[in-house]
């Protein structure tokens, strides 16, 4: 409540200006399924992707429901610490419409990449924003975050936090200043996927002024990569997030060719958290990625 009282005051002060409208807040947001007009500030929000939780945490709003795949630890700690408890509404791939409706939300934020087919159903439950969550860059994500903050009437907070964020990123950028190449990849027992500069992690690396080992301009965010292509890409630093316990790296490391990689020679293979680097995106995730990079570089 303490957070809300200065807002209430601000709203009261602004009241004479909005004498034509009976509502304290009216937001119109352009989203991926059209235009959504909200005539009052939503308070019970359900989000169906992790990156939107980051956006709400930054705006200082706690969602009542999250499609967290039934595991609260899927939300990264820096985000979890900023929000209150929530109800799970199922998996991101197939959220439970019943669980969402039971929470009586007044705003649903869904992933336009994943939830396109249930948009109509979601709209029947509550006003629904369709925004992009996966396969977008750092800057595109900031634009999405800004839309969410204006939907929950927290544009001012967002702008303040954004300034702080930009300063943090700039500080880290200055610290990281070097000419090495950096590559983030996801590994499983089935293969390796390089995240190009058009992926989220790749674009954060780029934002920090670090070089990508990919010479060509690549629009695909995730590239499946054989050992041969890794040898050619040959990054100075390889940051890997594992999705499975055993990965193809175990096999590749045994090959005589492994020693020919720059990062193997200089021991610059770093294991990072897949949930921070790949599963989510947002200001808090970006700051964590940047800090992790800085901490490894200082060693």
């Amino acid at each position: 409540m303490s957070l809300r009282s200065p807002l209430l005051l601000a709203a009261l002060l602004l009241l004479p200006l909005s004498f034509l409208s009976q509502h304290t807040h009216a937001a119109t947001i352009e989203h991926d399924a059209g235009t959504l007009t909200l005539d009052k500030t939503p308070t019970r929000i359900v989000t169906l992707a992790f990156s939107f939780v980051d956006a709400l945490a930054v705006a200082g709003v706690s969602p009542v429901g999250i499609a967290d795949d039934g595991d609260k630890n899927r939300i990264i700690k820096s985000v979890r610490d900023l929000i209150g408890d929530w109800q799970s509404v199922g998996s991101r791939y197939q959220p439970s419409l019943e669980a969402i409706a039971a929470l009586k939300p007044d705003l649903i934020i869904a992933d336009s990449g994943r939830h396109h087919s249930i948009y109509q159903d979601l709209s029947l439950i509550a006003p629904t924003l369709m925004l992009q969550s996966r396969g977008i860059t750092y800057r595109e994500n900031l634009a999405v975050m800004q839309k969410i903050s204006s939907a929950v009437d927290k544009s001012a907070q967002f702008k303040m936090r954004l300034k702080k964020h930009q300063k943090r990123m700039l500080d880290l950028k200055n610290q990281l200043n070097n000419s090495d190449t950096y590559q983030f990849a996801i590994v499983t027992d089935k293969g390796m996927w390089l995240h190009s500069p058009s992926s989220y992690a790749g674009s954060v690396i780029k934002e920090l002024g670090l070089n990508s080992p990919m010479t060509k301009n690549i629009n695909e965010p995730y590239l499946q990569t054989s050992f041969e292509q890794l040898l050619k890409t040959n990054p100075d630093w390889l940051l890997v997030g594992q999705y499975t316990e055993n990965t193809v790296l175990d096999k590749w490391q045994k090959s005589p060719l492994w020693k020919m990689l720059s990062m193997a020679k200089s021991k610059q293979l770093i294991h990072v958290s897949a949930s921070v680097w790949s599963l989510t995106s947002g200001m808090l995730a970006a700051e964590q990625i940047a800090q992790e990079l800085a901490s490894h570089l200082k060693k």
């Binding site: 027992d189 089935k190 499946q224 054989s226 041969e228 890409t233 999705y243 499975t244």
Partner: protein, 336 residues
């Protein structure tokens, strides 16, 4: 079929052409479409001036050579398996896919990947292999198995039912395992990008046994082509023939799908091409269909690397892209 295998074909010209297509594909796939800009000259250098520090030579020897060898042998296996299936069921639509071997492998692999129950305790490759065997045995036993009165139609119906069951389980697993879904999906399209010498050492011994078994059935299949009753009256033990053929198909397909994922249509196209090019003697058809399969997978793998370089496109997508129009052609020509 008789019309297609025109008498004009020289008995040596067709096999020679086939072998050279395969050899050419094999050699080009050793150096083609590489980010290292490998050239044929690099192959020559390996022979005349081997250098263990030269990255180009090492890439060819440690990555390209096993990949090409495995591509050829898997193609050979699938070509032979397809011919066996068609020979046994006397149905031109039969292919290893019918035996639910691919969907069985996919199902257990997916369950293993998402850590479902005890499946997660098994190594991924073993789980996949067991899944392939499970799918095959299930279809075989539901389809009449060793009973003397079982017929090909029953086998096909069993195949359709088991395939449906296993694929729906795989889909369920994919929904649960959202994060790893794309790596599973990639495998489901069939890919040779993770092949190394270890894969080759797993592949060849089992393939050799299965191929010997396959070739031992060629006389039986020749007689079976005349109809089961005729074959029976000519002294062929149909049950025993069926057991050997099914075992060979099961082994050939299981080991291939375990290493490379389901590479579809090869087992369907290669036998038809073989029959069009050669006569109907299984002693000739088996190696011919195998070589055609080998050439097909080898060239498809080469193509798969050149679609969106540097990313790998699963080879199974290429074989399906080649296979589908071919299949439609067969239907339109009334060859089925």
């Amino acid at each position: 079929m008789k019309i297609l295998s025109s008498a004009g074909h020289s008995k040596t010209l067709t096999p020679a052409l086939l072998l050279s297509t395969l050899m050419l594909g094999f050699i080009i796939s050793l150096y083609g479409q590489s980010e290292f800009l490998l050239q044929a000259n690099d192959l020559w250098q390996i022979l005349i001036a081997p250098d263990s520090q030269d990255i180009k030579q090492q890439v060819i020897l440690l990555l390209r050579l096993p990949r090409s060898l495995v591509a050829c042998l898997i193609g050979f296996n699938l070509g032979v398996a397809g011919l066996l299936m068609q020979g046994l069921t006397r149905n031109p639509l039969a292919s290893p896919t019918l035996f639910a071997i691919n969907s069985g492998a996919a199902c257990l692999m997916a369950l293993n990947s998402i850590g479902f129950a005890f499946f997660s305790a098994l190594p991924s490759e073993l789980a996949t292999f067991l899944g392939a065997l499970l799918g095959g045995v299930l279809v075989f036993s539901l389809g009449g198995g060793l009973r003397s009165d079982s017929n090909a139609l029953r086998l096909i119906l069993a195949g359709i039912a088991v395939n449906g069951l296993l694929s729906s389980l795989t889909r369920a697993a994919l929904i649960i395992a959202d994060d790893t879904a794309y790596s599973i999906l990639h495998w489901l399209s069939g890919s040779l990008s993770e092949i190394d010498w270890h894969s080759w050492s797993q592949l060849w011994p089992l393939s050799l046994i299965a191929l010997l078994l396959a070739f031992s059935t060629s006389r039986g299949l020749n007689l079976n082509a005349l109809g089961e009753q005729t074959a029976n009256s000519l002294g062929i033990n149909i049950t025993w023939l069926r057991v050997r053929v099914c075992l060979a198909v099961l082994l050939l397909t299981s080991i291939s799908v375990t290493l490379a994922g389901p590479i579809v249509f090869v087992g369907l196209i290669a036998p038809h091409l073989a029959r069009a090019l050669f006569n109907n003697n299984h002693l000739v058809l088996l190696p011919a269909s195998g070589l055609l399969g080998a050439a097909l997978v080898c060239w498809a793998d080469l193509l798969s690397r050149s679609i969106i370089p540097p990313a790998e496109t699963p080879v199974g997508i290429i074989t399906a892209l080649i296979g589908t129009p071919f299949f439609i052609f067969l239907v339109l020509k009334g060859k089925l």
